[in-house]
C-alpha cells in the first residue's frame, strides 16, 4: 500500500529523468521546426542575430522536389529492406541451428555475436579496405584465385556492399533475439508433431515460425529504427556517392556540406515523421507486453 508520502517521493525521483528527456526532445525539435520554415544559409550571410526570413513551406516543397530526394528514399528502402530480409532469414535459420545440441555451443555463440560489438567505423573500414579493395582486398584475392576479374565493390556494387556490411553487423542481434525466442519453445509440442509424422519442414512452418512471429516483429521494428539512421557505414565507405545516399545522409549533407539549414531541417522533420510511423508500431507491441 503506497502512502501519500511515498507517492510524492516517487514523483520527485522520476523528475530528473523526465525533465532531462523532455528538454532533450522538445528543445532541438522546436529549433528544427523553427528553422524548417526559415531561409537559413549561414554561408550566404544569413544569421540568427539579424533575423531569418520566413519562407512558409518552401523548404518542405524544395526538399521533396529536389532531384536527389526520390533516389535517396529509394536507397534508404533498398538498404533497410535488404538488411532486414538478410538478417531475419539468416537469423531464423541460424537460431534454429544454434539451438540444436552440438559440441562447443558456448564458443560458437560468442563467435556469432562478436560482430555486434565492433564499432561501426571499424567494421566499415575493415570491410572497405581489407575485404572490398579491388586490388589488395581478400575478396579480390579470392576472385583472382578462381580466375575471375576482381570487383570494385564499393563503386560497382555499392548498395549491395553497404547491405553486406550492415547485415554483418546486425545478423548477431537478430540471431541472438531469435535464439532466445526459439529456446522458449515447448519441445513437447515439437515431439508430438514429430510422432504424428510431421516433416521437419512442416514442423518449421506450423510450429516454429508462428512461435517466432512476435520475436521477428520486434527484430524488424528495432532494426528498422536503427537502420533508418545508419551513418558511419556510409560516411567512411562511399561518402554517399554511387547511389548510397540515404535519406539520413542526404539531410546530413544538406546541413553540414551545403550549409542549407532551412532545407536540411525540413528534411529532418520528414525523417522524424518517418521514424515515428515505425515507432508507433513498436510501441504497441512493447506496450502490450507491459500489461502482462
Amino acid at each position: 500500500m503506497a502512502t501519500q508520502h511515498s507517492r510524492s517521493a516517487a514523483r520527485l525521483m522520476m523528475a530528473p529523468a523526465v525533465v532531462l528527456l523532455l528538454g532533450w526532445m522538445l528543445v532541438p525539435l522546436t529549433m528544427t521546426l523553427f528553422f524548417s520554415f526559415k531561409k537559413y544559409l549561414p554561408l550566404r550571410g544569413d544569421s540568427l542575430e539579424r533575423g531569418l526570413d520566413w519562407v512558409g513551406f518552401a523548404n518542405y516543397v524544395r526538399f521533396i522536389g529536389s532531384s536527389s530526394f526520390w533516389p535517396s528514399v529509394q536507397a534508404t528502402l533498398i538498404i533497410v529492406g535488404g538488411v532486414l530480409v538478410i538478417t531475419v532469414v539468416l537469423g531464423v535459420l541460424l537460431a534454429i541451428l544454434l539451438d540444436q545440441p552440438f559440441w562447443g555451443q558456448g564458443i560458437v555463440r560468442i563467435l556469432v555475436i562478436a560482430p555486434f560489438f565492433v564499432m561501426p567505423t571499424v567494421s566499415a573500414l575493415v570491410w572497405k579496405n581489407m575485404f572490398m579493395d579491388p586490388v589488395n582486398g581478400i575478396l579480390a584475392h579470392l576472385w583472382r584465385f578462381f580466375g575471375a576479374e576482381p570487383v570494385s565493390w564499393l563503386s560497382d556494387a555499392s548498395v549491395q556492399s553497404i547491405i553486406m556490411i550492415v547485415s554483418w553487423q546486425w545478423l548477431p542481434f537478430a540471431t541472438l533475439i531469435l535464439l532466445t525466442a526459439v529456446q522458449s519453445l515447448d519441445s513437447e509440442q515439437l515431439e508430438a508433431a514429430e510422432m504424428d509424422g510431421a516433416s521437419p519442414l512442416m514442423r518449421f512452418w506450423h510450429i516454429i515460425l508462428p512461435h517466432l512471429s512476435r520475436a521477428i516483429t520486434i527484430v524488424i521494428l528495432i532494426q528498422t529504427i536503427f537502420l533508418l539512421s545508419i551513418f558511419a557505414e556510409i560516411f567512411v565507405t562511399t561518402g554517399g556517392s554511387f547511389g548510397t545516399r540515404t535519406l539520413t545522409y542526404l539531410i546530413f549533407q544538406r546541413v553540414v556540406d551545403s550549409q542549407n539549414i532551412g532545407l536540411g531541417s525540413a528534411g529532418g522533420v520528414y525523417a522524424i515523421i518517418l521514424a515515428n510511423i515505425v515507432a508507433i508500431f513498436l510501441m504497441r507491441i512493447v506496450g502490450k507486453n507491459l500489461d502482462r
Binding site: 530528473p16 523526465v18 545440441p101 555463440r109 556469432v112 567505423t121 573500414l125 579496405n129 541472438l176 512493447v286
Partner: protein
C-alpha cells in the same frame, strides 16, 4: 540405434555451426591477424594465414603517430561518464516506476522510449548550435551529456524490467518493520538490484563506446574518442592494412571482451524487455 542417429546428427550440426560461426567471425580474426604482419605481408597474394613473421611494430607506430592513448582515454571518459550519469538519473526513476506505479507509469515509459526513436540527423544542427552557444563544442562534458541522454531511455527500461522482478512483498514486510524509504532503498532494494544494475551498466557502456553519429559530428581534436580515431584512418592510411588492423584491433578489443560478458543482457536491453 537411436543413439547412433543422434550422434551422427550432432556431428553434422557441430560441423555446420562451427563453419558458420568461423565465417561470421572471420573479418575480426583476419583484422587481428593482419595487425601482426608487416605491410608487405598484409597484402600478400595468396593471403598469409600463419607463415609470417609476427611483429608488434604496427601497434608501436599507430600509438606514436596518432596518439591512441588519448582517444582511448576519451572513449573511456565518454562511455564511462555517460553511463554513470545515466545510472544516477535512471535508478530513482526506474525504482519509483517499478514500485510506486501510477496510472501514467506506462505512458511515461513509452514516451521515454519514443525519444530514442528521434533520428539524430533531424536535430544535428540545433544540437551543434547549442554546443556552440554553451561552448561545449569538442569538450568531453558536452558529449557525455548527449550520450547520456540518447541512452537514458534504454537505461530506464532495462532497470525497470529488472526492478519489476523484485517481489513487492519484501518491501511491504520491511515497511511493516518500520523501515524508512531510505533504509528500504539502501538495505533491501540495492543488494537485490545490483545484478540488474551491473548488466545495465555493461550494455550501456558498450552502446556509448560504439556510438558513431554524435561522436563523429561533435568532436574535433580534443575530445574525439576511438570512433573518430578510426574514421581518420579512412584514407589514405586505410590502405596500409597492417596499421589499419592494429588501430582497429586496439579500438574493438576492450569492448569485444566486455561484450562477451554481456551477451545474456543484450537481448533484454535491446528489446526493452519485450524478449527475455
Amino acid at each position: 540405434m537411436a543413439r547412433a542417429v543422434t550422434t551422427r546428427r550432432k556431428v553434422i550440426t557441430t560441423a555446420a555451426a562451427w563453419a558458420i560461426g568461423l565465417l561470421i567471425f572471420f573479418p575480426i580474426y583476419w583484422t587481428i591477424l593482419t595487425s601482426f604482419k608487416t605491410e608487405a605481408q598484409a597484402i600478400n597474394d595468396p593471403p598469409l594465414f600463419f607463415a609470417f613473421n609476427w611483429t608488434l611494430e604496427n601497434y608501436a607506430i599507430v600509438q606514436e603517430r596518432s596518439d591512441y592513448m588519448r582517444f582511448l582515454w576519451n572513449s573511456v571518459i565518454l562511455a564511462g561518464g555517460s553511463t554513470v550519469l545515466g545510472i544516477l538519473v535512471a535508478v530513482p526513476a526506474a525504482w519509483s516506476m517499478a514500485f510506486v506505479p501510477s496510472k501514467r507509469t506506462k505512458d511515461i515509459l513509452l514516451w521515454m522510449l519514443s525519444t530514442k526513436m528521434l533520428p539524430a540527423v533531424g536535430v544535428l544542427y540545433p544540437i551543434s548550435l547549442l554546443f556552440v552557444q554553451f561552448n561545449l563544442l569538442d569538450t568531453r562534458i558536452g558529449l557525455v551529456m548527449v550520450l547520456m541522454l540518447i541512452n537514458l531511455p534504454i537505461i530506464v527500461w532495462m532497470l525497470y524490467t529488472y526492478f519489476k522482478e523484485i517481489p513487492g512483498e519484501i518491501l511491504e514486510a520491511a515497511r511493516m518493520d518500520g523501515a524508512t524509504l531510505k533504509e528500504e532503498i539502501l538495505y533491501i532494494l540495492t543488494p537485490m538490484a545490483v545484478p540488474g544494475i551491473a548488466s545495465t551498466i555493461l550494455l550501456n557502456f558498450i552502446l556509448a563506446w560504439n556510438e558513431a553519429f554524435w561522436t563523429l559530428n561533435l568532436t574535433a581534436a580534443q575530445s574525439a574518442p576511438l570512433t573518430a580515431f578510426i574514421a581518420s584512418y579512412s584514407s589514405p592510411e586505410g590502405l596500409f592494412f597492417a596499421k589499419l588492423s592494429a588501430a582497429s584491433t586496439m579500438a574493438i578489443a576492450p569492448i569485444l571482451i566486455l561484450g562477451w560478458f554481456s551477451q545474456k543482457q543484450l537481448v533484454r536491453g535491446l528489446t526493452f524487455g519485450a524478449v527475455k
